[in-house]
Assembly symmetry: D2
Homo-oligomer: 350 residues x 4
Amino acid sequence: MAGNTFGQIFKVTTWGESHGKALGVIVDGCPPGLPLGESDIQQDLDRRRPQSTPSSTPRKEPDQVQLLSGTFEGVTTGTPISLLIHNKDADSESYDSIKDLFRPGHGDFTYQKKYGIRDYRGGGRASGRETAARVAAGAIARKLLDREHISVKAYTLELAGVRAEKMAMDVIDKNPFLTPDLDAADKMREKIMEIKNAGDSAGGVVEVLVQGCPAGLGEPVFDKLDAELAKAVMSIGAVKAVEIGVGLAAARLLGSECNDEITPEGFVTNRSGGILAGISNGDEIVVRAAVKPISSIEKEQRTVDVNMKPTTISVKGRHDVSAVPRIVPVCEAMVRLVIADHFLRQRTLG
Amino acid sequence: MAGNTFGQIFKVTTWGESHGKALGVIVDGCPPGLPLGESDIQQDLDRRRPQSTPSSTPRKEPDQVQLLSGTFEGVTTGTPISLLIHNKDADSESYDSIKDLFRPGHGDFTYQKKYGIRDYRGGGRASGRETAARVAAGAIARKLLDREHISVKAYTLELAGVRAEKMAMDVIDKNPFLTPDLDAADKMREKIMEIKNAGDSAGGVVEVLVQGCPAGLGEPVFDKLDAELAKAVMSIGAVKAVEIGVGLAAARLLGSECNDEITPEGFVTNRSGGILAGISNGDEIVVRAAVKPISSIEKEQRTVDVNMKPTTISVKGRHDVSAVPRIVPVCEAMVRLVIADHFLRQRTLG
Amino acid sequence: MAGNTFGQIFKVTTWGESHGKALGVIVDGCPPGLPLGESDIQQDLDRRRPQSTPSSTPRKEPDQVQLLSGTFEGVTTGTPISLLIHNKDADSESYDSIKDLFRPGHGDFTYQKKYGIRDYRGGGRASGRETAARVAAGAIARKLLDREHISVKAYTLELAGVRAEKMAMDVIDKNPFLTPDLDAADKMREKIMEIKNAGDSAGGVVEVLVQGCPAGLGEPVFDKLDAELAKAVMSIGAVKAVEIGVGLAAARLLGSECNDEITPEGFVTNRSGGILAGISNGDEIVVRAAVKPISSIEKEQRTVDVNMKPTTISVKGRHDVSAVPRIVPVCEAMVRLVIADHFLRQRTLG
Amino acid sequence: MAGNTFGQIFKVTTWGESHGKALGVIVDGCPPGLPLGESDIQQDLDRRRPQSTPSSTPRKEPDQVQLLSGTFEGVTTGTPISLLIHNKDADSESYDSIKDLFRPGHGDFTYQKKYGIRDYRGGGRASGRETAARVAAGAIARKLLDREHISVKAYTLELAGVRAEKMAMDVIDKNPFLTPDLDAADKMREKIMEIKNAGDSAGGVVEVLVQGCPAGLGEPVFDKLDAELAKAVMSIGAVKAVEIGVGLAAARLLGSECNDEITPEGFVTNRSGGILAGISNGDEIVVRAAVKPISSIEKEQRTVDVNMKPTTISVKGRHDVSAVPRIVPVCEAMVRLVIADHFLRQRTLG
């Protein structure tokens, strides 16, 4: 109800503020019998950490996860799995300057309006740091999907206007932008450095590819698989648009250009992005998210303080130039959560 | 769980197949004390009916709604509101030809895979006809939003590649394409006729504008207002992409171009589409949906029958050329449901 | 949220007031492939109707059910099943006398306090008539449980102080009190007549027996099978206590008297009522509900009107002396709903 | 879905096994602005700890709670509140003897059947230790109810056959049995010692009294306040029966004896236990729970091992003789959760 839970059966609840003592997640409804240890989760968390790249900041977040419940002798038991990550690098004082200020593009204003109170330190609950808990939950979903031979892979399709042209999946984790095109990665680096020097920030597009998903997942009417994916991905802070398959382009295609013809060998094309009438058709599922540029920039912007008095803000220091590479594993995690949940929902038809 | 319910507090459950005896909706959680009669709902249903336009079919659907519970002496009582619409024009036999066939772009294949059985007549539960129930529920949400002086208005922004340039809200209901630009409407008519003659179909873009929404609606993390809107709109059959505010364009803007500066008079721009960190900021909320072309076309397409034997299909007769004008009131209804639900959710903070 | 929905996966939503146009129920989440027709449901509704007995009234309620969606060619399709029962015998005028009065023991006062408005005719939503919708839903659950060879049987264990001593299951439907002991039925008839003549009413105890339930149903902690059964049964209007297995007597037993020892042949006794730590153990599940006497009595009682002015009330005419026989099929239906729901929930562990 | 969450708006999710690293609870949906610190919660946890009494064991559980999120500067912020309690005294090895055994009266058998795997140490998730998390959550609910001047008080009404005759609320926390009658406490001590010496265990009755609850709480039909209370209380491990108001006795009263007449001064009696048609009537709410004797006893009992081979069990050492005093604060917590949740649900009518 209060918005911190995702999923109906594979149910994920995250908690924690950016500069509180800790953050964490409960995964309830994970089937018993899956092998699971802290290292399974740590590996995904490590991928989320900023790498040495001009697009992200050097903030040290060891993000050491603790697995506190729900497994016995290395295997899930069907009871709630509790994961905890202590906040180590929480320098609250550095946020005193924004205590009485509403930063443009951030949730400062809306949280204050909603709750009448807010933990302003590092954005509190609205911080991107919350997504560490999602990635941790996504690692558990991965164990379930692995068992079912379903793979979910996200990558940077576009960053700062530079689009990946090649689809070399094996290089994704070999460049700091998590893009499948190393040439594009070079151009991204250049472009990002340029924007950084201008005191500005950049957006991009993340694409997620699901392979091996059986036909039949997704529920009719409101909980269509694409509707759930749209919610999942749009729930990530900086995302402003979600596309399935051909996406926005569908608006300008003719029916004969948009339909996927069917032959005994399968669908001839995949404009639908693997989903028909809200239910997976067995083909690859393709989801894209448009990510806005980071809101904290060095360039001076007009804003108001909590008393609605005008002022300006210029955010200096260790802020990412683009959230895109960090959002890649979060998108991947969210899509995994949707697929895992619908995989289990499908079981209830039996 | 089975996907036929939307909302947490203002809870809407639709039921019914295209060619069953009837279809309907239960609205549970509507506050007591709202004036409500059948005519309030009928008026929205009538707007959904196909008008005399080349983009839609002449099928007669009187869609006479019956209000069966939840009101007393013309006022809501807080108990579930049940609305029923009988199916009048259900000519099942005309669907015998698709009984054993999977139509490209339709849910025939995926419903069969999911359930092992399907009501093939007119698409069964996956039919666009189901949206009549959503529109009916949306009319009830309208009564609540009216009380709160929140207005939700949808219109055709683009159809068959023709984009509305003017924003004359008062002409929307005066043209069959429900677009705010009468010049564009003329071009749309031309373009649609051309596509119809070619035996093909067209897509477009629907935009929804919410005015008067107070700041503070939406929940953090997973149930962000934009995430819920994305799900709501993507749950409409033919929608393949959802944008909030600047949407997809955000990916190519700089931070300084994308942020909305704040002054004592309010936000200087509205690139965010009225939502910051998932919570309404008091500005206009702007949502766009990209709609794919109708899947049923006269042009011959390859497909398979239920035994996966190859065949072809050419859909003749009374099919819409574009779903866009019919989807306009459905988008409007879905956005109303989201706003009504989050308005009531906000009450629980008290 | 508003309390009209029961179940997580096998999800039942009832609607309708006692003297509205109709009442009904949506069953969402019923698996596909179950044979289901109107007669399956009618048969359970007919059992709920008052028989020729001094304990119930002669009000004619044909309760003819209409099956409006969710089946195709006589089989469930996995989409929502909508059932409708028109209200035929709704003589609203006869309720004008209670329009401005709060009847003792009824919900008049509390509904007014909760909603600020109420449909006073026949108790509106709080009427026992609402349970017809539950019984209809229970009939659908029965079809699922039949497939799994799980049987649920309810009967009158005690009425007006007369307790059944024999457990002849085959006579339950052969006497108007739905008790498994025909000798007790005779005494019940006598006792009820006596109370009727005194212008008073009587309570009793309903017992429900579940046979063939596999071990493993029920969820840990909050959604224990016994907790869900307690809620299900306590949600029936007149029920004031719920017992599982030895029930209240457990408070005075010693551990050695209360535990069920286990042998290779199974549990030696069944004091637990078939549930251990909230999960079914494969033994018979035993639930009992204590039913208070009907609140509407001829004997004069003090009460107040809607302006809190003192007055008296004496309810004459066609009111039941005891709700017990009518509650028997409702208890049976509610227990079926719980078992069906948990049966499907168990599937999600796979 | 998996049963570890309670409540719709004031939403409580517990996690953790008896002998895992820690246990805890997330409270999501708590309104912002409530003063809350660790000491508020610790105080309730301390009350739950076994006191020096023959009915409970000397196991040292410091149960030091950590408040990890959801507050800022000592006040709730509306975001999820995470509480953590580390398990200190977890001597797993002492449970090796029950590793391959199903203890009578315990969940060993049913958890194994349900999940195919179980953390046998100390009962794992089915341990009474889980209730520490409930009590912690209840302390947060208490802060909300305090603000609304609603008090919830539980006590031992009966233990080992000894019933409290006096209702001296101020002595409840001054005796180890948490009973409002010090004379009864003396007799309880005697009786408990006797049963302990016989190697057996005892049950009893807990009563919960809610004062200051406004009229109007509870939802019609399925989520009646009494139905929710029944579920809440029955979800506590050892509870076998739940009564509201006159409870079981209602079955043998006449209508004229059971109804509460109404005068301008209020209800003349309170047989209903403060709830009419599932909605609070403003009077005191009275709930009773019958608690079975502790299942672990020294007396030898027959049982089977995991291979269904016959054996016997005699539990020696530090086991409680009765769970009743420990269940008192758990009942109190559960009732608080129900009232807090329905208090917030009532807000959605606005």
